[in-house]
Amino acid sequence: MKPADKQAYLEEYEVLKKKGKPFFPYAVLKDSTMALIVVGVIIAMSLILGAEQGPKADPTTTTYVPRPEWYFFFLFEVLRVIKPPELVPVATIGIPTVCMVLLLLLPFYDRGPERRPERRPLATTAGILTILAMGYLTYAGATSGSPTEVDMKVAPEYKPGAEVIASSGCLACHKLGENGNNGPGPELTHIGARIPRAAIIRSIEIGPSIMPSFRELPQKKLNEIADFLSSLN
């Protein structure tokens, strides 16, 4: 913005202000109406949606699949989509940090005098795309298949094993295809090619290193898991 533009803006603003109305009562009336609506909506949401507690926090459970509050869904989805381990820091901290810095410094790189959105095509397009992207990511994060399902092609005879894996919390520590967390446990995607079926069963029963023992699983489920995992090669 050139000094002449700044001067022109200030002069124009001065005129617009002179032709305006006093803050009190005109703007105050609108703001108070809005305040009543805001408080009303919050009370209505509280009455209708309530504040029910979930089950008490239990650090020993292995089956609970965490989900963030809805306004972090977009971040959650970025994390879910970006899988390669070397890119994870980029997704978790890199993208949000870059976005925040870009947002913070907006007035310092967008310095044109024009204010009408239809005459700032670049800024307006970028803004709309950002909103669409965040909206899409939030929606995708909200509707992403329940993390207690294994999302991969499984032959029908191994389906029960895949379901037991998904509902037993294995994916909290093991990566399985596109599912689950990469670590601390080893990846299970091709586990059948690396260790034999008997070793898989022993690992589940003993729980090597920091892995908890799943000895309590019924023998049937244990066999289903072992069938499924040893088929992965």
């Binding site: 603003y13 005129v15 002179k18 803050f23 029910e52 965490p66 007035p107 967008d110 310095r111």
Partner: protein, 319 residues
Amino acid sequence: MPKFSDLLVPAPLRKTPKPGEAGVPNQPAPQDLKTDPPRRPTDHERLGQQALEAPTEGLAWVDQRLAASGFLTGMLYRKVPKGTNWFYTLGSAALFAFIVQAVTGVFLAMFYTPSTTQAYTSIAHINNDVFLGQLVHGMHKWGASVMVILVFLHMGRTFFFGAYKYPRELNWVIGVVILILTMTMAFTGYLLPFDQRSYWASIVGININGTGPIVGPYLSDFLRAGPELGATTLSRFYAIHMLLVPGALIALIGAHLYLVVKLGTTAPPWTKVDKPRVAEPTANLDAGVSSGNGYRPGGAGTIAGVQLETTDNDGMGPA
């Protein structure tokens, strides 16, 4: 019949009716003092008069010591530009959502215990036993969502109206920091009910911080306050949630509002200026609060003066 809102504007700021209009005679009636000598008020009347003036004098006493009346009238009766519409209420709506969070938060803090053994039961106690407890807890929980939405909408309005441009760049920066702090509040508050959902979501959140480059591991260590998420984590999140971030938020909201009053709110970018009316190039940054500018009793000599436009410019389009 004048509109109710017009009656709330003090007389010197009201649009002066032109001579010949209803209620204003063309010529002031000549007053002949000699025909009606002023009558001395009785003691009774004098006492009544003094009683009537007592509140005014009390206020004057306070104001002599605070010197706030100039600022207050300047702020209350400062002009908001032509074309100001409902989009401009989003900021104050976000502020009211924050106030709801602050008030409900205080009441929740009276009953909440930030310890791993008692947090869950104290929330259950709030929900089940405390008078209106579940309502207040629900308002705090859902008020967080409402506040996040309103802050984003307010930012969207500012962005698309180009309101972050000169001379309001710093207020945009403050606003973005307020957004980040709002999200911090949402994150730290999420752990406090200490149910499964909040516990595991916080573990994931802390681990996400830990994957960041260089500062990541330190940040997650700081948040976790120990090797495992536990009692120290909970009290640390609680302190951040109810002392550190709210304090910073209140300070930043204060600075944000100060700049709003000082620089004035923008007009919608489509609002047209009638060029011939630019008679006085009195561009001044501190037009808002400082006495003198923008707040002058309209009288002979002031161009456009301070007049009330009774037409509504509420639409978004060119007014």
